[in-house]
């Protein structure tokens, strides 16, 4: 406990290692998280492209891919075990190492202390530790590709007993699955350290005048996300420990009596497979909000900034964020309507699930209200924020189907939920990340990204993701089941092949468009136009300091906050925006 409670006293590091590798500076750690997520997202994207290839043309042979993946593409055709291994890793990498790390670990780490006027996180050493544990966790996860048997084939949900029985149940379920569990356990620990740091920082480290109701909505969403992580990750950790003991310690927490796997009698007895589902989804549903809430905060911040208007219904937004977060703990059963859950509890879960639609509708309504009467500046960041709202509506509203017990029966485990969650927690959250990147890149690296290239990236991505995921809903209605390496075996899926091809082509175009982002990012880091302190004429605290900010964020200044977070277009003010630290206006009362 030697790190200081008053981080202003930790001096700027001088050695390379302390400054860039084992740094305790929240800004460096935020960038480290961001780059980790960048590696993860392109890996996950590559996996999905390969999967789409097989789904569209299952019989086609790709000899050149055999040279890259001699095992997975034996004879040029992707094997089903390779498909399932990629499916598992795509889901796991995207959910944990992209959607959980980039918005929270990346941008949250970098901007939360600055936006509340703090010099660093409450526990800088803990912060460093949580990044390096995440890094280790990702290393262990990637290692699963390279062990005998390959990566696990049990999906990112790792349903027991498939995940508990070991190699007898399928390839990749040996050491690959062990590594998967260990990696997830490490990730849980890292997230817990991060979460308690975030909460303490928000509650204890705000600068003078920064009352809770003056905090930017981004801070509110990071704060709520941290609470969700703090309370849900320990349950996943518990589940992971139990699963690991089942696999290595001979216990039977998830393995019931009397199993016979490929004619081999399993000696375990007494466990419950449903228990895994309860523990997993008790974590899994809040995890959805862990991914999307920071995106909501970013969208709010960007819409207000670029519409030059205060956010519509600030208090309602705060309440809605909290309501979504807290309700999220009581709806996990909607993932289990057809699992043999008691029909009565399904009724309760169903009603609570649809209740989440209420705060979500409030958020959408307020975003529209923010645009109403505004003076919208179409920067790339703003385009992504508007795209976020559109995707949030398209992706969120289909939850009304899936949250209903009777409608879910037919749609469960088809492409319909796949389309639903990709749209809402996948691409909507990614749009939040992109929006945040285009918005904050000048602050983080001191240079602007190329707007033209960024806009091209937006148009292709926005059109692309809609072309991928909207038809996918229809495929689900037609009965296309998820996690099928190909859909040629069943007559009722035959008419779906043209859709598979269409979606694959759309996915290829969208994936290729992401290279524009990569080019823009690299170009911007070194060649981008120099950014000033406040290129967007925004109001929050990160914009009153240099780009990038000095080690202690504000160059020794103690800030006093006088205004709410989104004071744009204030009548009588000298400019169309009033920064949070501006002196009180004279026109009062």
């Amino acid at each position: 406990m030697s790190d200081s409670a008053h981080p202003a006293v930790h001096p700027a590091p001088t050695t390379f290692i302390r400054k860039w590798v084992f740094s305790t500076d929240h800004k460096i750690i935020g960038i480290q998280y961001y780059f980790l997520a960048l590696i993860a997202v392109f890996t996950g994207l590559a996996l999905s492209v390969l999967m789409r290839l097989r789904l569209a043309w299952p019989a086609e042979s790709w000899p050149w891919l055999e040279t890259i993946f001699p095992v997975g593409f034996e004879g040029g055709v992707m094997s089903p075990e390779f498909y399932l291994a990629m499916l598992t890793m795509h889901g796991t990498i995207m959910v944990f190492f992209v959607l959980t790390t980039a918005p929270q670990g990346g941008f949250g780490n970098y901007f939360l202390p600055i936006q509340i006027g703090a010099h660093d996180m409450a526990f800088p050493v803990l912060n460093m530790l949580s990044f390096w544990v995440t890094f280790l966790s990702m290393g262990v996860m990637f290692a699963a590709f390279f062990v005998a048997g390959g990566a696990p084939i049990s999906g990112w949900t790792a349903y027991a007993p498939l995940s508990a029985l070991g190699e007898v149940a399928g390839p990749g379920l040996g050491s690959g699955q062990d590594l998967w569990i260990i990696s997830i356990a490490l990730f849980c620990i890292a997230s817990l350290l991060g979460a308690l740091n975030f909460i303490t920082t928000v509650l204890n480290m705000r600068t003078k005048g920064m009352s809770l109701m003056k905090m930017p909505l981004t801070v509110w969403t990071w704060f709520t996300t941290a609470i969700l992580a703090l309370l849900s990750f320990p349950v996943l950790l518990a589940a992971g420990i139990l699963l690991l003991l089942d696999r290595l310690g001979g216990t039977s927490f998830f393995i019931p009596a009397g199993l016979v796997v490929s004619d081999t009698v399993i000696e375990n007895s007494g466990g419950s497979p449903i228990l895994w589902q309860h523990l997993f989804w008790f974590f899994g549903h809040p995890e959805v909000y862990i991914a999307i809430l920071p995106g909501m905060g970013v969208a709010s911040q960007l819409l207000s900034t670029f519409a030059r208007k205060p956010i519509f219904g600030y208090h309602a937004m705060v309440i809605a964020v909290f309501a979504i977060g807290m309700l999220g703990f009581f709806v996990w059963g909607h993932h289990m309507f057809v699992s043999g859950l008691s029909p009565f509890s399904a009724l309760v879960f169903s009603i609570l699930t649809l209740a989440i639609g209420v705060p979500s509708a409030i958020k959408t309504f307020n975003w529209l209200g923010t645009l109403w009467g505004g003076k919208i500046r179409f920067t790339t960041a703003m385009l992504f924020a508007i795209g976020f709202v559109s995707l949030f509506v398209s992706g969120g509203i289909t939850g009304l189907f899936l949250g209903q017990t009777s409608v879910d029966v037919q749609l469960h485990d088809t492409y319909f939920p796949v389309a639903h969650f990709h749209m809402i927690m996948g691409v909507a959250a990614i749009f939040g990340i992109f929006g945040a990147t285009y918005y904050w890149f000048p602050k983080m690296f001191g240079r602007m990204l190329h707007e033209g290239l960024g806009k091209l990236h937006f148009w292709l991505t926005f059109a692309g993701v809609n072309a991928i995921f909207i038809p996918m809903h229809l495929m689900g209605i037609m009965g296309q089941l998820r996690r099928y390496a190909e859909s040629t075996e069943f007559k009722f899926m035959e008419p779906l092949q043209p859709y598979q091809e269409f979606v694959t082509i759309a996915a290829f175009v969208t994936a290729a468009a992401q290279l524009l982002f990569l080019v823009n990012f690299c170009w911007g880091m070194f060649k981008g136009r120099k950014a000033g302190e406040n290129p967007w004429e925004a109001t929050t605290l990160e914009w009153i300091t240099a780009s990038p900010p000095p080690h202690d964020n504000f160059g020794g200044r103690e800030l006093v906050v006088n205004h709410g977070a989104y004071e744009y277009g204030v009548p009588g003010a000298p400019r169309d925006y009033v920064m949070q630290t501006d002196p009180p206006l004279e026109t009062t009362k």
């Binding site: 409670a5 409450a122 526990f123 909460i199 009352s211 518990a238 216990t251 419950s272 219904g313």
Partner: protein, 223 residues
């Protein structure tokens, strides 16, 4: 310990000098939102619980969630599992429990101690008692395995090993923390060790103590 307690400076009431009044409806957070009080009127450094104290409470909340996860698994298993055979509490459990309770007591005495030598002695005793508890738990495991009760046996014994094991790991962390503080107390001749870190460690330690009682009741008395 460099735990800086902020000076009780008097802050100007910046909150009340807000600007343009709201045109009605819920405010966007300029002056009129009337939020004051609990977190210190727009967050000066007054009235804030110490970082470590708050951080520890949060850590304990998260540890509790993990044990709630285990407990629900336990309750589900007990309710639905036909192979469930609860074992009786081994006598050694009571000795260990006594040791752990004694350690909490001696830690409290350390916290109350005024003279630094007294404090150091009580803390050393606490460390020893904590270590003794862990050794006792290992001994308990050893006794049970000799009786043929293994991790992979009956579901109840699986839970026994699991819960005592996870609790033990947490307690090991506590012993390490205490030992660090104690060593620091002995090294800094004459100076009083930092109260803040002692208080936080004590919070953790007492929580682990209470958690143990809870586990004991669940494992052996809750039917």
């Amino acid at each position: 310990m460099p735990v800086a307690i902020a000076p009780p400076e008097v802050e100007p009431d910046t909150e009340r000098q807000g600007h343009v009044p709201e045109p009605g409806g819920p405010g966007g957070g300029s002056g009129s939102d009337g939020e004051s009080g609990r977190w210190g009127d727009g967050g000066g450094r007054r009235l804030r619980p110490d970082n470590y104290q708050l951080g520890m409470w949060l850590a304990l909340a998260s540890i509790s969630m993990m044990f709630i996860g285990f407990s629900s698994a336990y309750i589900l298993g007990q309710g639905t599992n036909s192979q469930w055979r609860a074992m009786a509490a081994p006598p050694l459990v009571w000795i260990n429990t006594g040791i752990l309770l004694a350690s909490s007591l001696s830690l409290e005495l350390a916290r109350r101690a005024v003279a630094s030598t007294e404090l150091k002695r009580w803390m050393t005793l606490t460390c020893l008692l904590g270590a003794a508890f862990l050794v006792g738990q290992l001994w308990l495991w050893e006794t049970l395995t000799r009786q043929g009760i293994y991790l992979s046996g009956n579901p109840h014994s699986s839970f026994f090993y699991l819960l005592t094991g996870v609790h033990g790991v947490h307690l090991l962390g506590g012993v390490a923390g205490l030992a660090t503080l104690t060593a620091r107390a002995w090294c800094s001749a004459g100076r009083v060790p930092a109260r803040a870190s002692l208080n936080v460690t004590a919070l953790y330690w007492h929580f682990m103590d209470g958690l143990w009682i809870y586990l004991l009741v669940m494992l052996f008395f809750w039917r």
